[in-house]
Amino acid sequence: MSEQKLAVNEYLKTDSDYLRGTIQEGLDTAVTGAFSEGDQQLIKFHGFYQQDDRDLRNERKEQKLEPLYSLMLRARVAGGVCSPEQWLAVDKIASNLTSANSIRLTTRQTFQYHGIPKRNLKTIIQDLDREALDSIAACGDVNRNVMCNPNPVESKLHQQAYAYAKQLSDNMLPHTKAYAEIWLDDEKLVTTEGDEVEPVYGKTYLPRKFKMAVAVPPDNDVDVYTNDLGFIAVAEGDELVGFNMVAGGGMGSTHGEVSTFPRLADDFGYIKAEDTLKFAEAVMTIQRDWGNRENRKLSRLKYTIVKHGFDKFKAEVEARTGIKFEPKRDVVIGDRGDRYGWKQGVDDNWHLTLFIEGGRVKDLPGQPLQTGLREIAKVHQGDFRMTSNQNIIIAGVPSGDKALIEGLARQHGLLGKLITETRGHSIACVALPTCALAMAEAERYFPDFLTKVEALQEKHGFIDQGIVIRMTGCPNGCARPFAAEIGLVGKAPGRYNLYLGASFEGTRLNKLYRENIQEAQILAELDTLFGQYASERQADETFGNYTVRSGVVTAVLDAARDFHG
């Protein structure tokens, strides 16, 4: 046992009666839109965060009103697949029960609602439940939404990979009945002590969030190396036979604290498909037992692996599974972007990938995106797939329906606008005004910023070259900015750190190039670098690789050593 005092959250979890806390009392307190401080940590395990509109804080204080609290609820949708019926329900909830009146597609292939008043939470969760959707463990110190390549083109392999993602998701769910009791009015059970309630997690769950992804090469849309635990599918012909397992990735860090850093996962080796769950559980339980519970800034799996060493950690995984890793198989890790437009799958069905800027499904002037997807859902026979790039695929469209779907998409501004390769590969997190952590704008500002970058690319004659650009309001890294060729991480309103040098495919991190600079300087820096890149680039050389080769930044090969070095 450590002499150090445990992190506050650890006591909260211990005393919460398996995530119940005083959430019910909080729901019954009508005088505030907020939950108590302790419950604000616990509600994350139920899938939502408390936020407030930061633009309005001072104004409302003068109005003798509390901050404009609302909840952000994130659903758990393994692999991002949902039916048209589910989509219609999701859409209706957004329109009727949230003040943001929109659906936000996330970088982890699910959707979230912003602006939920506390009083509407229960109705929303019950409405979702009726459509077999939930938000259990969508946030919190547990296994989060499991990502999986949503590409339905190579249909058979995808289906097999998706099945594993779903299994991983289901298997790692908390067992507590708190969610059902509080939100679905299930009868309160007499709490049994100890391991019976949570055989894997125990009373204190994990030290920190835990993220998993399943990649199907050559696509790396799920950004597999940025996850705590990743499985890269290995196929023989059409059959999925196993995975290359990777572990220890994660984006989150804290400005000014060099003990924290983003990291990409290490390759552990090949495992057979049938052993997947065993390995996942081993890695998760080692993290449960070894992870840092004193300092939440150092408690992700990546720090656990760095602290104990890769070899020791690997040996422990093999000891707990009783299985040795085989050497990793050769796979090609390729593009992290989505394949926009129509693609025909092996089963002859068609799939339409739609670009949703900032992942925000909302009716905009002249672009009624939300209405468009609703109209499509009413006639669509296949399913919807949310991508890791915050886009959506209308999947499984029979040839006969193609024209109908395309017509609806064009009519509602979902299709028809030309987007550059760079815009198509780039993402931003939500940030201001709702995210409590944001220090600068992201989603609201990013589209205009990209337009300026596109102008520079045009100027230097390589507009057709895609560059992965990612912007976040803080260094926690929801939009995986440290794995972007151009990463912009908020420091203060209007000010960002500029990171360069990640690979296009997401296999190498970037490195800090300029600190705390404003738009004019960011654009001036890029103008110079773009000019050099345009004249000095080698054949097929990506911008990220160029910045490393030319010495603009040094390559980050070992994050713990190189990221701040």
Binding site: A30, V31, T32, G33, L56, E59, R60, K61, E62, Q63, K64, L65, E66, L68, S99, P117, R119
Partner: protein, 598 residues
């Protein structure tokens, strides 16, 4: 005796002494005043006060006393009655001036001369003060009053269907009981001053042969008022506006303001429950619009009340522009010779609907007429101050007074029309002058015992006096439980003083709060629904002696809440409907059920 009445009543003091006393009282705060009054009372009993004895004052028999009763909601009736008392006293009559609420009905039989001033509200309802007497006179218990001489002055608003109804009821009942009218019923409209003066003169003339002048006088004013001020409706204090802060969120469909006014060195004191009268000036945009539509020159000189001033000034400072009255509709119908307007003017109900839904500017726009500046000014009523329930307690805010003001705002034909006073306050700049006076409301008072539980029902701006109550109770360190029912359309936008209630809850000064946000869900939820929902607890509170207060809309809310309370008493008190009504009536009579509704 009210200090503010010193000037209007013939006091035993010399003019110089009165001035000195006024100077002194102006410097005193509420606590000091209470001390001084106690000190003087005590010293006068010992007969050592420097106040000259007037000898005959205590010797006047009841049969020679003129009893003046007033039943007043806004204070106008009380003002008229007080003025009459002063005049009567100056003429040497013995006068007993008393609120109807404090009047013992069994005393009626002993009266020989009764003068009544009473207002009417809503759909012909009696003001709170008058309810009991009104009911008594209509009941079988009312005695024969063959020896009584009386006259009634009724206050009302002719835009309402039951104009002066309560006054008419008193007139009819007294007559039926055998009393003799000495002057005909005076039915006064909103601009009552001239008519009231006439009635006062008439009754004093009629009284002459009936009552012997004692040569000296006593005026007994039944209740003591700690609220006091030298400043009155006619002689307001020019205060400084400190803050006009919007309380509703940016997405609210209403603009409700928290207004803070500095009373400075005025010495004005008020109590939680009182109202503040606010004089205002009309907006320049509105005045300009009228001048333009009527093609009149703002610089033209007109005469108002004998003074000569510019038309613009008259419209800005002297005339009512935001409330219509039937006389103006009639007058304008004649001027415009417009058949449609004449049809409206000929029908009382249509006229009422029209005056309720339009302003002067709408009238002159819709029905063009050629009019001179003098004609126009003569048609308009004088501007009248608006009363706002005070939202602060002096034990918390000292020389400040706070109000909660809803901006009256209606869009008609694409034009936004505002309420005169609310627009004035909402658009006021920091440091702006505002003329104010306190209108005491002794029928809306916290229980004397700080242990007594208090239930407050105050949706919308009706919550204002309860902010004052809570400030008062918090300052007292009162131990009694408190329970607030509040409602408005939206939780996020319209929760007036939300953070203050949260602090009171946290500090334990506020024991419970129940909230009804009508539009946050599909079906509308109002405070009365919350009362029904919490009926069991509410009944327990009432049974444990709680005082219950309602403030806000009289037309619907107060009635719906009253009905909900009746249902609670029936359901949880196991009473019949009749018994429930009796129960609430007893609460009211015991001053445990008080309303400040408008």
């Amino acid at each position: 005796m009210l200090l503010k009445e010193l000037s209007s009543l013939a006091s035993p003091l010399s003019a110089g002494q009165v001035d000195k006393l006024k100077q002194l009282t102006a410097e005193l705060n509420a606590v000091q005043l209470a001390w001084v009054s106690g000190y003087l009372a005590a010293t006068s009993e010992q007969g050592v006060a420097g106040l000259p004895q007037t000898g005959a004052s205590a010797q006047v028999g009841a049969e020679q006393t003129i009893t003046i009763l007033y039943g007043s909601q806004t204070g106008n009736g009380r003002g008229i009655a007080t003025e009459l008392a002063g005049k009567a006293q100056a003429q040497g009559y013995a006068v007993n001036l008393v609120s109807m609420a404090d009047y013992k009905t069994r005393q009626l039989k002993q009266e020989s001369l009764l003068l009544l001033v009473v207002s009417t509200h809503g759909e012909g309802d009696a003001p709170d003060d008058a309810i009991e007497l009104h009911k008594f006179l209509s009941s079988k218990r009312a005695p024969k009053l063959d020896n009584l001489n009386y006259s009634v002055l009724a206050l009302g608003d002719s835009s309402y269907e039951f104009f002066c109804q309560t006054g008419k009821d008193f007139e009819a009942r007294l007559n039926a009981l055998g009393a003799k009218s000495i002057a005909p019923l005076a039915e006064c409209d909103v601009d009552y001053q001239a008519q009231a003066q006439q009635w006062q003169a008439d009754v004093l003339e009629a009284v002459k042969p009936l009552v012997q002048s004692a040569g000296a006088s006593v005026v007994s004013i039944a209740s003591s008022q700690a609220s006091s001020s030298n400043y009155t409706k006619q002689k307001p204090y020019t205060a400084e506006l400190l803050v006009s802060q919007k309380l509703t969120g940016r997405d609210s469909d209403r603009d409700i303001r928290h207004v803070e006014i500095e009373l400075g060195e005025s010495g004005i004191s008020y109590q939680a429950g009182d109202a503040l009268g606010v004089w205002f000036t009309n907006s320049q945009a509105l005045v300009s619009e009228l001048l333009q539509v009527l093609e009149l020159d703002g610089d033209e000189s007109v005469s108002v009340g004998g003074d000569s001033l510019s038309l613009r000034e008259a419209l800005t400072n002297k005339k009512e522009l935001t409330q219509l009255y039937p006389g103006l509709v009639t007058g304008w119908a004649e001027l415009s010779q417009n058949a449609d307007l004449q049809a409206i003017s000929a029908d009382k109900a249509l006229t009422r609907e029209y005056v309720n839904n339009n302003q002067v500017a709408d009238l002159v726009r819709q029905y063009p007429a050629k009019v001179t500046a003098e004609q126009f000014v003569a048609l308009l009523r004088g501007i009248t101050p608006r009363l706002y329930s005070i939202a602060s307690s002096q034990s918390e805010v000292e020389s400040e007074v706070h109000l909660t003001v809803a901006l009256v705002e209606e869009v008609r034909d694409g034009v936004t029309r505002f309420g005169g006073a609310s627009q004035f306050l909402a658009s006021a700049q920091e440091g702006q002058e505002v003329q104010v006076y306190v209108e005491p409301n002794k029928h809306f008072r916290l229980p004397e015992n700080p242990e007594t539980p208090v239930i407050m029902v105050g949706p919308g701006t009706g919550v204002a006096p309860f902010r004052a109550f809570m400030q008062e109770r918090a300052a007292q360190g009162a131990q009694g439980n408190t329970w607030l029912f509040f409602g408005n359309p939206h939780f996020e936008q319209d929760f007036l003083y939300q953070t203050e209630w949260q602090q009171y809850l946290q500090g334990g000064e506020l024991s419970r709060i129940d909230l009804a946000f009508s539009r946050d869900q599909e079906h509308k939820i109002y405070v009365q629904h919350k009362i029904t929902e919490q009926g069991d607890a509410l009944w327990q509170w009432l049974e444990s002696g709680a005082h219950l207060y309602i403030c806000g809309d009289a037309e619907r809310m107060a009635k719906d809440v009253h009905q909900a309370l009746l249902d609670v008493v029936v359901q949880h008190g196991g009473k019949s409907e009749e018994q429930a009504a009796q129960y609430l009536e007893e609460l009211r009579a015991a001053k445990r059920y008080q309303k400040d509704v408008y």
